[in-house]
Amino acid sequence: MQVNEIISLLKTEFGKDILFTKEISPSRGLVRIDPERIVAVAEFLFIRHGFRFIIASGFDSKEGLEIMYHFMLDESHFILNVNVVLPREDPWIDSITPLIKGANWIEREILEILGIQFRNHPQPEPLLSGENWEKGYYPYRRENKDV
């Protein structure tokens, strides 16, 4: 399989919920999806097409709070970046941990650095910060950029 093929399959399966796609190179792809469909897209990639979940990167951009889920199809030698944008006020998204156990830690980490809530996460607790960490302080939010 190639990057453009999986992008076409995603478009066919999810239609208008695929908001933007880009084939960056033969080994890198980018798709932006409706956040409500993250579990379905993760299932499509991880269960149906055998992608491996590498990790997710959370960051604060001009558009809002973003999560980039990095999936790789090892035998086809390419990475697919699945991007979602969430609002800064009350950001939440469905957890993919019930589907992919390897996402447990990173969702907890994104929760503590950006304050994104993961619905249905089996253990929604901070991963790295100590008990005395200030509640509601998220170091990777733009307002704390220069701290």
Binding site: L30, L127, S129
Partner: protein
């Protein structure tokens, strides 16, 4: 049911770095495991945003003392992907040599530690003894036993002069029989077969579910290896095999690591041959600036895939820099590999993934307790270190 909790850590003689494992036991059997992390959290991703691209190399190199070239490797791959930088062939060979030497020394370190955990101290002594010549090679090539500062955007910082290749080859040739010795001591030992087979088993499905990487996944029959699956540096130019095993137990993990060292020697030998054909000094492509974009860089470190995600905006610093070390996914497999084991098997099952909590060791100044005078300060240590490097150079190259 009454349960006993056995804590390992956060500071424990078994572990070099702090991390707390709580083993919930029913009698001798481990029924559940929980862990606490964050004792060594240094905010490196956040710190990276305040550094220039050149400075970030020195920062990520200090994420881990053992795989100190893996993070710069992955970071360079990510940034060079954004800038579409093609590095000279000679630099590709040198990067690959450094990456593979690191694999050998890291696997030898693990074999030694695993032997020590099992009370098989002969293997521990041998593995660590024969790891020393590999570290000497690092010192010769880079000037340091660890934290080599070899990588930069567009290439490497130091060349390997062609006249030194013979010396490096000689050390590698001397290493091969030592690897045979260690291979025999582990793989032909009936006690180790009985002790390690069927212990800490991870099935193929467990590996897929937990997204485990590196020898941890390859020992369970999942043949993922970034060097082959997304070739970079010189990995696509040399001939080598991905080592896998099917059993998923601790013995299989040991087997994979030991056999991988032979593949590393094969790769290094071919890279050294490649170096002879390339012009000396051609080790860098000049890069003026990095355009806005995103890069996914990864490298197959000794413990598995190191992944770096970098976002840039055209300035000389990353806007976001995400780092994922292999232990981040591998440690989570303990939930499978330790449960149902006895306490004595749980410790080697924990050690089998070669967990690394992203350590760094720091220099300390020692003071005489009686006089209060420093016994050795940084300057003296550096001088002694440089003298030793010079002595090694003379011994191996001349």
């Amino acid at each position: 049911m009454r349960k006993t909790v056995i804590p390992i850590g956060p500071y424990h003689p078994l572990q070099e770095e702090p991390e707390l494992f709580k083993l919930y036991c029913d009698g001798e059997t481990v029924t559940d495991i929980e862990w606490e992390t964050g004792y060594n959290h240094r905010g490196i991703e956040k710190l990276s945003e305040s550094k220039t691209f050149d400075q970030v190399f020195f920062l990520v190199e200090r994420i881990c003392g053992i795989c100190s070239t893996s993070h710069p490797f992955a970071f360079a791959n990510a940034v060079e992907e954004i800038g579409a930088v093609e590095i000279p062939l000679r630099a590709k060979y040198i990067r690959t040599i450094i990456g593979e030497l690191e694999r050998i020394h890291s696997h030898l370190l693990w074999v030694g530690l695993a032997g020590h955990f099992l009370g098989y101290n002969t293997v521990y002594m041998w593995a660590w003894k024969y790891r020393e010549p590999v570290l000497d090679l690092f010192e010769l090539i880079t000037g340091n036993r660890n934290s080599y500062a070899m990588f930069k955007i567009g290439g490497v910082r130091r060349d390997i002069p062609n006249e030194n290749i013979a010396g490096i080859t000689r050390i590698l040739n001397e290493l091969k029989p030592k690897l045979d010795l260690i291979k025999g001591a582990v793989m032909d030992d009936p006690v180790l077969h009985m002790r390690l087979k069927g212990v800490g088993v991870l099935t193929r499905q467990d590996v897929i579910d937990f997204c485990a990487v590196g020898p941890t996944s390859r020992a369970s029959g999942v043949p993922g290896d970034i060097r082959r699956d997304d070739p970079y540096a010189a990995y696509g130019l040399v001939d080598w095999d991905v080592i896998t095993a099917e059993e998923g137990d601790v013995f299989a993990k040991a087997e994979v690591r030991i056999l991988e060292m032979y593949e590393s020697v094969r790769i290094i030998e071919q890279c050294l041959e490649g170096l002879r054909k390339e012009q000396e000094g051609d080790i860098e492509t000049k890069v003026k600036d990095i355009p806005p974009g995103m890069g996914n860089g990864h490298h197959e470190a000794p413990r598995g895939e190191v992944f770096h995600f970098v976002l840039t905006d055209g300035s000389n610093s990353p806007v976001r820099h995400k780092v994922r070390a292999p232990s981040y996914t591998n440690i989570a497999t303990f939930k499978k590999s330790c449960i149902g084991q006895t306490i004595s098997d749980a410790t080697i099952s924990l050690a089998a993934v070669d967990p690394c909590y992203c350590c760094t060791e720091r220099m300390v100044v020692l003071y005489d307790a009686w006089t209060g005078k420093p016994l050795m300060n940084t300057r003296e240590l550096v001088r002694k270190s440089q003298e030793k490097t010079e002595m090694l150079r003379k011994k191996i190259y001349h």
